[in-house]
Amino acid sequence: MSGEEKRLTMIDLARVSKTFPPDVHALADVSLRIRRGEMIFLTGQSGAGKTTLLRLLSGIDRPDKGYIEIAGHDLSRIADAEMQRLRRRIGVAYQDFKLLPDKTVAQNIAFSMEVSYRSRQFIRAQTERLLTELHLLDKHDTLAGRLSRGEQQRVSIARAVANEPELLLADEPTGNLDAETAVLVMQLFRRCNEQGVTLLIATHDQAIYDFPGSKIIRIENGRLAIQKPPTAVRKAEARA
């Protein structure tokens, strides 16, 4: 890979495999390159390996085999302090939300910004802007544990976006949302993408991944199956 190509690459995976005991091959020989500013939908059935891939990319798990590079950092060789700095540049919306139930919505969102030492004004403004955008402003001071699943999901997304990450990983971000709220979330993602954020969204919600310019990666039994624009995927799925 040339220097210029490397600079333009956000995610680079080469022959990545991950097996969970006793014998579950979550990912097998996955190779993938995602350029900066791309918006990719990772689709596939439950258990196909989407969440495993996102966990490897966010550095929560390590692959058994293969090579992962994020924004030029080789995750197998990265030092602790460097990994911490890299994590501040990656926003992750987890499938299980990972919210702190005894903290307010605002405190949960502020978390990702506080570790980057953002100013109080920035944190306040960003929290209010995101809550307004996701129709949650009235929940600003509500404890996260008292929210519905759909509301918790939106708070988790707001926290992932709040620190203006370079890379955003979202695991089933609309899984608990109605169609109208899912549109709000997708509008937020699209706006982030327009500002240069690279997005990798794991989903099996067909309704959200059909828009121009985005790419779909299908994963089946831990292997990459298709890598095409959405309309082509839809046609392929219709033929199947």
Binding site: I60, L100, D102, K103, V115, S116, Y117
Partner: protein, 294 residues
């Protein structure tokens, strides 16, 4: 938001959530500081009593003959060979007679027919008023008794021995209570940190996921430990002062003038507080590194 503001607000939030469990640690630290400083106060006052002994703590070496200047110099040399002393005074027969006469006050006429040289000449040795010198006084006396021309050596043997035993006992108690302070403080801080980590487990996990640095995670625990040390030692010292004033008020009339007890000076109080803070902060630092590996 800079690093300090971020960790201070983290610490404040954590304390607001876990203050109930921290109270037990605070009370234990307070009690440990109180126990240690109480014995230390008694010990340091005992040392001061030793310093006030003044004339009572002298060795009187009775000689068979009045030493001339050369002999005096020789005695002086031999005394200082054993231990450094505060001062040495040679008392002639006549000076001893005058001194004795002065002590008799109104009954001086009993000396009318007695020759003025009936008392033996002597050397009065004033040892340094340090515990080391006091501890050696028995050996010192034995050494002096062996010097040529010495008839007898006199000193408040029983009193000095009792005092030495008391001070030695106090020294052991101070060391034990100091060790107790260190053990209980580090144990309680470790326990308190473990409880806080347990109650904030999810939060700490999330902090790592969003890229918090190691110092961002551990500094609030370090500050909590330091704060516990500060509050615990201030409370302990305050309790000691109240106890001291009460003892003074109750026993002031009964105690003799030799035993006027005094409290620690400001410098010692500050030193005890600073040491407690360092001990607690260090304890929490070690615990958090051990528990969280950060």
């Amino acid at each position: 938001m800079n690093f300090l503001v971020a960790v201070f607000s983290q610490t404040w939030r954590s304390l607001a959530e876990t203050w109930r469990s921290q109270l037990l640690s605070l009370m234990t630290i307070t009690l440990s500081v109180l126990i240690f400083t109480f014995f230390y106060l008694v010990y340091s006052n005992a040392l001061q009593v030793g310093n006030r002994l003044d004339n009572d703590l002298r060795l009187i070496v009775y000689l068979d003959e009045q030493p001339n200047e050369t002999l005096q110099e020789e005695y002086r040399h031999k005394v200082e060979k054993f231990d450094k002393v505060e001062r040495i005074e040679f008392i002639s027969k006549l000076e001893a007679y005058e001194h004795f006469k002065g002590q008799l006050d109104d009954s001086q006429d009993v000396l009318k027919d007695i020759p003025k040289d009936f008392l033996p000449p002597s050397i009065e040795i004033y040892p340094r008023r340090t515990l080391d010198s006091l501890a050696k006084i028995k050996d010192f006396s034995a050494y002096l008794e062996k010097l040529p021309g010495v008839l007898k050596v006199q000193y408040g043997r029983e009193w000095v021995e009792r005092f030495n035993a008391f001070v030695r006992l106090l020294r052991v108690v101070v060391l034990l209570s100091g060790s107790l302070l260190i053990l209980t403080t580090t144990f309680m801080i470790g326990h308190s940190i473990r409880l806080t980590v347990f109650s904030r487990k999810k939060e700490l996990e999330l902090l790592r996921l969003v890229g918090a640095s190691n110092s961002y995670i551990r500094t609030p625990f370090f500050l909590e430990g330091a704060l516990l040390g500060l509050l615990g030692s201030i409370a302990g010292m305050t309790a000691l002062y109240i106890l001291f004033r009460w003892i003074q008020a109750v026993f002031a009339s009964r105690a003799s003038s030799m035993f006027t007890f005094s409290f620690f000076d400001a410098q010692t109080v500050c030193l005890i507080i600073v040491l407690s803070v360092l001990l607690c902060a260090g304890g929490s630092f070690v615990s958090i590194r051990k528990i969280l590996s950060v």
